[in-house]
């Protein structure tokens, strides 16, 4: 892995204060820009959304943890609520062709319409380029980016790491809290958490 190859170098330059530095998807750092194509064929760059709050949601329709949030209408409600407040919501599919969760554009459009989902766009990322850029691990793994393009949340959707719909009722939603606090100019109390769910089915 790239990072471990730099261990010796990192130690050699580590001074008395060694901040956590180079991770691409660290909160507090600029969110990595990406270029993707959505299910309508439109090219989407993160930089297109400068000045807006952006949510990234990793998705795999066959994953029991994702089904918890779509079957319980939880994700759709979040998408509706936050896009109505001007948030850009990008649902990202990083499953490789042939893997669970992979969708062709027409299939993705039909599926998300049938689910009454309301993301701003569905990014098709079968190469896994965007997923790996963000070090996205699971479905659903969630990121929130502020209008300055800084990553302000990286982690789970909520504090109940199960696939059981019954847990939605008592869950505290980290994404909603981050957006609410961030849009009010407040500090985000939970800026990271362990993402839970199914491992993303990346291209080998």
């Amino acid at each position: 892995m790239k990072k471990t190859m730099f261990v010796a170098a990192a130690l050699a330059i580590a001074a008395a204060a060694a901040p956590i530095t180079t991770h691409a998807s660290r909160v507090g750092a600029p969110a990595p820009d990406f270029k993707g194509t959505d299910s309508k064929g439109q090219v989407r760059n993160l930089s297109d959304f400068k000045g807006k709050w952006v949510v990234l949601e990793w998705h795999n329709e066959g994953c029991p943890y994702v089904r918890k949030h779509y079957g319980g209408n939880n994700m759709q409600k979040l998408q509706q609520e936050w896009t109505a407040k001007g948030v850009v919501w990008l649902t990202v599919l990083s499953s490789a062709d042939g893997q669970q969760g992979y969708m062709e554009p027409a299939q993705a459009n039909a599926y998300f319409a049938q689910k009454h989902a309301a993301p701003t766009a569905i990014l098709l990322d079968p190469s896994g380029e965007i997923g790996r850029l963000y070090d996205a691990k699971t479905t659903p793994h969630m990121f929130v980016i502020n209008p300055d393009g800084v990553l302000v949340y990286n982690g789970a959707i909520d504090d109940k790491p199960t696939s059981d719909q019954a847990d939605l009722a008592t869950a505290s939603n980290y994404v909603s809290t981050a957006l609410t606090q961030g849009m009010a100019g407040k500090a985000i109390t939970t800026a990271t958490s362990r993402p839970y769910g199914c491992g993303i089915k990346y291209a080998k």
Partner: protein
């Protein structure tokens, strides 16, 4: 966040919030209950076993999982994805489950992401606690409502309501020796507290923790399984370098980590099936070091 329960005397640590529901529900205990000792879900068969015919102090139950080839269930920290099995218990008054004793897991690579868990067959021992002065009834049923996530390249949740009724029937009594052997074998794989003579420390440098564990002898193999979530990047390869009196591991930090922890806690698995709970105090790296990496 995660509530961690460590029973040091027993050498048991459980990420309780994520890992298991410990409930004792006397009202729900039904002597002679009709539940089955065995259950199953897709790719998984599970049964409730006990390590003795006559319940008493020190008794262990076991949740025995048999998995289809390629499928796995999870350790208390599942790694990059998935989640540990959970059990909600039903006991007669005065008895309760004291927690799952998690055997040391395997590192399971699924398409570049890493899970910590178990393949094939695994028994999760569960200690039964008895309240002081509790009288064990002649006839009673222990119930376990078990939920799990099983994954290969795909994930499928499963659940089963299991029950074991005492006194055991003749067929069950004939199996107890085998059950006890399985529970004991699993307990022998539960990580032990690190010996007092060991020294563990971690240097924080950029995106990496360099963990030195001085065991007193050269350790050629080591795998670190973090007991806390989101400290270590689970999917990153662990660079292991034997030292003359121990071992050094370079561990990539989790991208969810925003501030170095005071202590890295984890299970260190060494050659020969040895596994220990280590706590390495984290310090900022202050001097140059050269890491000799072994091929991974």
């Amino acid at each position: 966040m995660t509530l961690n329960v460590c029973l040091r005397a027993a050498g048991v640590c459980a990420a309780a919030a994520a890992a298991l529901l410990l409930t004792s529900n006397p009202a729900g205990a039904q002597p002679g209950g009709s539940g089955s000792r065995k259950g199953q879900g897709p790719h998984v068969r599970v049964e409730l076993i006990a390590d003795r015919v006559t319940p008493g102090p020190g008794m262990r139950l076991g949740l025995k999982f048999d998995l289809d080839p390629e499928w796995h269930i999870y350790w208390q920290n599942p790694g990059d994805s998935g989640g540990p099995p959970q059990a909600a218990w039903t006991f007669p008054p005065g008895m309760m489950a004291a927690g799952i004793e998690w055997p040391a897991p395997e590192r399971i690579d699924i398409g570049g992401l890493v899970n910590y868990g178990y393949h094939d067959t695994v028994v999760l021992p569960v200690a039964v606690a008895l309240a002081a002065g509790a009288r064990i009834p002649q006839e009673f049923t222990i119930g376990a409502s078990v939920r799990w996530m099983a994954c290969a390249s795909l994930c499928v949740p499963g659940k089963a309501d299991l029950a074991l009724t005492f006194p055991l029937n003749a067929a069950e009594r004939g199996q107890v020796d085998g059950w006890k052997a399985a529970v004991d074998a699993a307990r022998s794989q539960v990580p032990k507290p690190a010996p007092a003579s060991w020294k563990a420390s971690a240097a924080s440098a950029g995106d990496t923790f360099v963990v030195d564990v001085v065991t007193g002898s050269r350790e050629a193999q080591a795998v670190f399984f973090p007991l806390e979530l989101s400290q270590v990047n689970d999917s990153a390869a662990q660079s292991v370098s034997p030292l003359s009196d121990g071992v050094r591991l370079a561990l990539s930090k989790s991208s969810q980590l925003t501030k170095d922890p005071e202590v890295l806690r984890g299970v260190l698995s060494l050659s020969g099936g040895r596994a220990f709970v280590v706590e390495a105090r984290v310090r900022q790296s202050r001097r140059q070091k050269t890491i000799h990496r072994s091929p991974s």
